[in-house]
Amino acid sequence: MNLQAEIPLDYMIVLGTIVFFVGLMGVLIRRNLITMLMGIELMLNAVNINFVAFNHYLFPNRLEGHFFALIVMAIAAAEAAIAIALIINIYRQFNTVSVDDVDELKY
């Protein structure tokens, strides 16, 4: 399938940019730790779109973008595991997951 003739690279770049900034907006406007984590996941996925699109359109002779996207996914999994452990611990200590109420460093 000749995707380059059908869909220009610009479409992929614009899509990745929109998803990235929607994720950023989610991090900025939400005050719940779990929804902020979901915004971060959206941003990581937007970055992956760009890596994969650049790999497919510009450097089809290598697989660098593909492996970079794989490694980003592994990091995202590790990050989600740690973040959720932290969120559960915070919930045990403060009984809330809103960042406005979690404002003590020493408990």
Partner: protein, 169 residues
């Protein structure tokens, strides 16, 4: 409109709409399900670009792993029918301005840049090539990042168990 174009526009619309719904939904469980739809549509996009392995990993790791983990933590930390408080108007305004400015800046910069396609012949993206390159230590080999990632994942798992366990005191 040809077939791939129609599929791309369906997937792109789904990704954008569900990601916006996911950050604005006031029911947190629904937000997680919208995120799941975004991730599945992204797997379809990878499949369109002939990265079948990446699409499968996306489905297994994100849709099967991270979303389930997020739903677990939602159910552990909030009531199932509780609504989140609506974000403040000033927060929405500043967030929207930031997002719009960022999108405008990034899109104008990127669309004005002249990308050059590599003239070399394309290589396949089948499992055989991917597996060979992932284990190769020579040029275009990714054995070192692969091992580093495995150590990182192990450390992250041990660390998250240590953080999340109940303290005995």
């Amino acid at each position: 409109m040809t077939g791939p174009k129609i599929i791309f526009f369906i997937l792109a619309t789904a990704i954008v709409v569900f990601s916006i719904l996911s950050i604005f939904s006031r029911r947190i469980l629904r937000a997680a399900i919208y995120l799941l739809f975004v991730l599945v549509a992204l797997a379809g996009l990878y499949y369109m670009m002939n990265f079948q392995f990446l699409a499968a990993v996306q489905l297994m790791l994100y849709a099967g792993g991270i979303v389930v983990l997020i739903i677990f933590s939602i159910l552990l930390t909030s009531q199932i029918d509780s609504k989140l408080e609506a974000p403040k108007g000033s927060h929405i305004l500043s967030g929207a301005i930031t997002a719009m400015a960022g999108i405008g800046l990034a899109v104008t910069t990127l669309l004005n840049f002249k990308f050059n396609t590599s003239p070399e012949a394309a290589i396949g993206t089948d499992m055989r090539t991917i597996g060979r390159q992932l284990m190769d230590t020579g040029a275009h080999g990714y054995a070192l990042p692969f091992e580093v990632i495995s150590i990182l994942l192990l450390a992250a798992l041990v660390g998250s168990i240590y953080i999340a366990r109940k303290s005995r005191t």
